[in-house]
């Protein structure tokens, strides 16, 4: 615990020192920028992403860098503030970065991405999963994370495969993720012949789901499955109150609940199935990543955002290698044509995907406080709801 804390502080401190303005574009190295929310509400996502990025960077530099040049990372904190996100992105542009990693949330990601777009520097959000993000900014903006519509389709396919006919959806309009993913699920579920019997809404952090749970208990027909992209603290509160009310309908979640909390919930979470970016089966690249992570940070990895951060750094390296140049437009074109880049969570393809990558979606089940691999899925593209 202590070890990782000090590492984190060192990382943030180092980031701040670099941000202080010592680093300029270095003709002998390659500079990558990360404008992330390392403090504030995005810290739970951008901090682990940064840890993954730095692990990837260590490995890349230990293996001789990119095109023989060492890679340097400039880290700047947006404080999870959208206005600050565009300011620090401009600073990174001025620092001469050749590619930029931006925040996990859509709004600051757009704010930073626009700055990079204008400077013709390719950028990607660490873990924003809204499929429309790259199009909203322009040709220099990429997604990294598993898109919401992809996850929704995989979950719907699984639900229909289990023979569920009627679904209840619980969504929150507070973020695109908690709103759209359940909607994509519902769209795909109905396209595959199922029925959405009711849609519930919650406010993030509302904590008390008694009203919703009482309503679910009174539904006719009662649902065969409940899908939600609520994550903590909402998901644990919801499922506890759901099970306490004696409702044992299966629950499908998405990657937001891939957290130690979910596995510590005990009986109430038993049997919950959720999608995420990969399962660390023995001998897999993800297992190797987990081991390397624990070696570097002294603590077991507890979120997939580290792995997807690692993946993104590997994708950027692959794009620069493929471009054979640190020229922005060249990197962008190479990035847009990447195929089967081997990363921690499997493989990633950007070619012909409008900058929203195809990557594996794993389904996991909570069983006895452990995670069990249900399988890896890549659904028929025709079944993926249009963004």
């Amino acid at each position: 615990m202590n070890q990782v804390s000090t590492t984190r502080i060192a990382a943030v401190a180092a980031g701040l020192m670099v941000a202080g303005g010592t680093a300029q574009g270095d003709s002998h190295g390659i500079t990558i920028g990360y404008a992330g929310g390392f403090t504030g509400y995005l810290a739970p996502y951008d901090q682990p992403s940064l840890n993954g990025v730095q692990l990837a960077l260590d490995q890349i530099n230990a293996a001789g860098g990119i095109m023989g040049m060492t890679v340097e990372l400039i880290v700047k904190d947006t404080r999870s503030d959208t206005a600050q996100a565009s300011v620090v992105a401009q600073e990174l542009v001025d620092d001469g970065v050749v590619a930029m990693i931006v925040s996990c949330d859509v709004d600051p990601a757009v704010a930073s991405g626009v700055m990079a777009q204008v400077a013709e520097i390719p950028s990607a959000s660490s873990c924003a999963s809204t499929p429309t993000l790259p199009a909203a900014v322009g040709p220099y903006m990429f997604s990294n994370y598993t898109a919401d519509n992809l996850q929704g389709a995989v979950l719907a396919e699984y639900a229909r495969g289990q023979g569920y006919e009627n679904a209840y959806i619980l969504l929150s309009r507070d973020t695109p993720y908690t709103e759209k993913l359940p909607e994509y699920f519902g769209e795909a579920f109905e396209a595959m012949g199922g029925t959405v019997v009711a849609v519930g809404e919650y406010t993030m952090g509302q904590q008390d789901f008694s009203a919703e749970v009482t309503n679910i208990g009174g539904l006719d027909p009662s649902p065969d499955v409940i899908q939600t992209s609520a994550y903590e603290p909402d998901f644990p509160a919801f499922i506890k109150q759901l099970r306490a009310a004696g409702i044992d309908t299966p629950v499908l979640g998405s990657d937001g609940i891939d957290s130690p909390t979910t596995f510590s919930l005990g009986d109430v979470a038993e049997g919950v199935v959720f999608s995420n970016a990969g399962f660390a089966s023995p001998g897999s690249a993800l297992e190797a990543f987990e081991m390397a992570f624990e070696e570097k940070y002294g603590t077991p990895n507890d979120t997939v955002f580290t792995a997807t951060g690692y993946d993104l750094m590997m994708v950027i390296a692959a794009a620069i290698e493929a471009a054979g140049s640190t020229d922005g437009p060249a990197i962008r074109d190479a990035w847009d044509n990447l195929e089967n880049v081997q990363v921690a969570t499997g493989s990633i393809t950007y070619k012909d995907q409008n900058r929203v990558p195809v990557r594996v979606v794993a389904l996991n089940q909570v069983s006895g406080g452990e995670r069990v691999h249900v399988g890896d899925f890549s659904p028929d593209p025709s079944m993926i709801p249009a963004p």
């Binding site: 990782v4 804390s5 984190r8 502080i9 943030v12 390392f38 403090t39 504030g40 509400y41 810290a43 739970p44 901090q47 682990p48 309009r173 009711a198 849609v199 519930g200 809404e201 406010t203 952090g205 509302q206 904590q207 008390d208 008694s210 009203a211 919703e212 009482t214 309503n215 009174g218 903590e232 603290p233 909402d234 644990p236 509160a237 506890k240 109150q241 099970r243 306490a244 009310a245 004696g246 957290s259 130690p260 909390t261 596995f263 510590s264 919930l265 005990g266 009986d267 109430v268 507890d302 979120t303």
Partner: protein, 294 residues
């Protein structure tokens, strides 16, 4: 009918937590005129204390005691370190100080513990429901209602019977004259903070039992709700804070339960609109008095 009673119990349980938080906020406001926005972070401290206590193998009951003690001591320390030096400054200064304390705590939690949530496993017996006259009432709900009732009774005895309790109510009405009674201002203020910490600690335990994890920013939303409850009940009125907490919870739960689907996206706006309407009808709050001359 059954659903109606069920929702009533739901509102009572949520209202209890709101009431405890609001009462803590009101207690400090009544003696200092300060809305302590770091109040919610005391809940977060409870959570981390419980997390580390459970991690150290101390077991749930001890973790709960430590969690509540931690919030209480932290509240007293907060007063001593941050608020006492600015006690005679104007309201804006104190408000900004409380926001600064809150922000500093967030930074410390994020960088010294983790930005990611930390799990607090709740024993499985707490997750079930008990049958009360045909109604399924969650164990956590029942605990929440019981704890709120007991704490409110104990506090009310303290405030009515003990000299310090009477002094706190007196200080809420007229601080300078309370000092003229020979009551130590620091003792009153420290007690107010200590009690607010105790209340936040208990509310924190109930909140954490529902959510199952603690994260650095978890105190923000509840303190906002408590603030609404305090204003609704009447700024400076302790009874008002409790009533405000329950009224807010009833509005929230019943709107979520009975609004037609198409209206659901507007439930928060409707809640706040109702609060504003109540305040327009009773600008001094539900229980509040007209402003005392200070």
């Amino acid at each position: 009918m059954e659903i109606l009673i069920q929702q009533f119990v739901n509102a009572l349980s949520l209202g209890g937590t709101y009431a405890l938080l609001a009462l803590g906020l009101a207690m400090v406001f009544s003696v200092l005129g300060l809305i302590n926005f770091a109040h919610g972070d005391l809940m977060t401290l409870t959570g981390y204390a419980m997390f580390f206590a459970i991690g150290a193998g101390l077991g749930m009951p001890l973790a709960v005691v430590l969690g509540i003690a931690c919030a209480t001591l932290a509240a007293v320390a907060m007063e001593r370190v941050a608020f006492r030096p600015v006690r005679d400054a104007n309201t804006a200064t104190m408000l900004l100080t409380s926001l600064a304390v809150s922000t500093i705590l967030h930074m410390l939690f994020q960088n010294l513990i983790s930005a990611r949530p930390r799990a607090i496993p709740v024993p499985s017996w707490m997750i079930g429901a008990v049958d009360v006259g045909g109604l399924a009432i969650g164990v956590i709900q029942l605990m929440s209602i019981t704890a709120t009732a007991l704490l409110l009774i104990a506090l009310s005895i303290f405030l009515r019977r003990s000299t310090l309790g009477i002094a706190m109510r007196a200080a809420a009405l007229d601080f300078p004259v309370t000092r003229l009674m020979g009551i130590n201002a620091n003792a009153v203020v420290a007690t107010a903070f200590g009690l607010s910490g105790l209340l936040a600690g208990v509310a924190g335990v109930l909140w954490l039992a529902q959510r199952g994890s603690v994260d650095p920013l978890m105190g923000f939303l509840p303190v906002l709700k408590a603030f609404i409850a305090v204003v609704l009940g009447g700024l400076g009125s302790l009874a008002g804070a409790v009533v405000g907490g329950f009224v807010l919870a009833f509005i929230e739960v019943f709107l979520r339960a009975f609004l037609p689907d198409g209206w659901l996206p507007f439930r928060e706006s409707i809640t706040l609109t109702l609060v504003i309407v109540l305040l327009l009808v009773r600008p001094e709050g539900l229980i509040g008095q007209r402003e005392n001359v200070r």
